[in-house]
């Protein structure tokens, strides 16, 4: 099995974590290496996701219900399933809306009409590194549900940003409180009240 790597650094460089390709990550998953852990691949690093709390699980379900109503039957609300962001990264966003039906999506999708992460302790990571990853993947609409803050942060307009982890960030960030309504970019006629998403 071959591994696509960037050229090795010149001598005298500091050691680095050995990066994994998507193929290697899949091979390890299929061999059962991660059976007792929930993992994602972010920039060649395999990261363990914490076991979701009760409120986290409730929020995911409430959001799924609201998004199914907003997008209608011609879309797939994928929950904690892989999103192939290349380079190599394969996060598992809490929710991702993929247009079309499951029969037409035979490998992990490379984009989504909307990605939603439900955040408790991972808020900074979801606002920072994860946001840059999704911006780089061209995700036009990225929401972070701040459970403790009872609000939703909406990130839009991915733009190049040399200071961001993956070279891109979102130019627009808007915060919506419980009483506010949000319309997904890809379902502009729908209006979702933030309180409907919160447990």
């Amino acid at each position: 099995m071959t591994l696509t790597l960037t050229p090795p650094p010149a001598g005298n460089d500091a050691p680095t974590l050995r990066p994994f390709s998507t193929a290697e990550y899949h091979q390890m998953s299929e061999s059962g290496w991660f059976d007792d852990q929930r993992v994602e691949l972010i920039a060649g690093e395999v990261l363990v996701m914490p076991v979701p709390s009760g409120p986290h699980c409730s929020c995911v379900e409430l959001t799924a219900v609201a998004l199914r109503a907003a997008f209608g039957p011609a879309s797939w609300v994928r929950m904690q399933m892989a999103l192939d962001c290349q380079q190599p990264s394969e996060p598992q966003p809490d929710l991702a809306i993929v247009l079309g039906n499951p029969r037409s999506v035979t490998s992990h999708p490379t984009t989504a009409a909307l990605v939603v992460e439900v955040s408790e302790a991972s808020l900074e990571f979801d606002r920072g590194r994860k946001a840059s990853l999704y911006a780089a993947a061209g995700i036009a609409d990225y929401w972070v549900i701040d459970l403790d803050g009872h609000r939703v942060e909406v990130y839009r307009r991915p733009v190049p940003n040399a200071n961001a982890d993956f070279g891109f960030s979102y130019a627009d960030r808007t915060t919506f409180d419980s009483a506010d309504s949000i319309s997904p970019l890809a379902a502009p006629t729908a209006s979702i009240v933030v309180a409907e998403l919160l447990p």
Partner: protein, 189 residues
């Protein structure tokens, strides 16, 4: 909820058995990899100065320890379920023939030659060597032309109680070969 929650995801930890299996499958062909507290760390190729220093140090240690000891170059030490490190040099008692099929789990003396990996060797590696109770841990610092000697490991604190520095003209004796004196300059290219 008063228990502090982790704020960023943690990397998956690999175990020694996992890494041996990956190695057998050829995952690390052409790359040097160490398992450092569960993380797979890739060591970049070495410079010629580094290679020269490793050889010079090997020769000096052979003279110091004599027969009945094996001066292992860039070979593995099995330091626990989550750490398999490959120090530049490690001195173990016995000969290659009577060492058996498994890597040693300790060493009388570990020497790392430090250039680009110096912070890693002084930091995370030193912590693992201390936790494993390696009594004598040296780092030959190429750029500064000094030798750092770490002794008196405190395993449950993963640190060494003593760290001394020696200049090229100084001499040092390994704890396990106290009759021998090694001039630091002999280790430097």
């Amino acid at each position: 909820m008063s228990v502090p929650l982790r704020t960023s995801p943690r990397r998956v930890r690999f175990r020694r058995a996992d890494v041996y299996r990956l190695a057998e499958q050829g995952w690390f062909r052409g790359r040097r990899v160490e398992l450092c507290a569960g993380h797979l760390v890739e060591i970049p190729p070495q410079s010629n100065h580094h290679a020269a220093s490793v050889q010079l140090t090997c020769d000096a240690l052979r003279r110091a320890f004599g027969d009945g000891f094996w001066v292992r170059q860039r070979s593995s030490l099995d330091l626990g379920p989550y750490s398999v490190l490959d120090p530049d040099l490690a001195v173990v008692p016995g000969t290659p023939r009577d060492s058996g099929p498994h890597h040693p789990t300790t060493a009388l003396l570990v020497v790392e030659v430090g250039d680009g990996a110096l912070r890693y060797q002084q930091g995370r590696k030193a912590a693992i060597y201390a936790a494993a109770g390696i009594a004598d841990y040296w780092i030959v610092i190429l750029a500064a032309r000094t030798l750092e000697v770490r002794r008196r490991p405190v395993p449950n604190e993963r640190r060494y109680a003593e760290c001394s520095r020696f200049a090229p003209a100084d001499t040092v004796s390994p704890l396990a070969a106290p009759h021998a004196t090694i001039t630091v300059a002999d280790l430097l290219p």
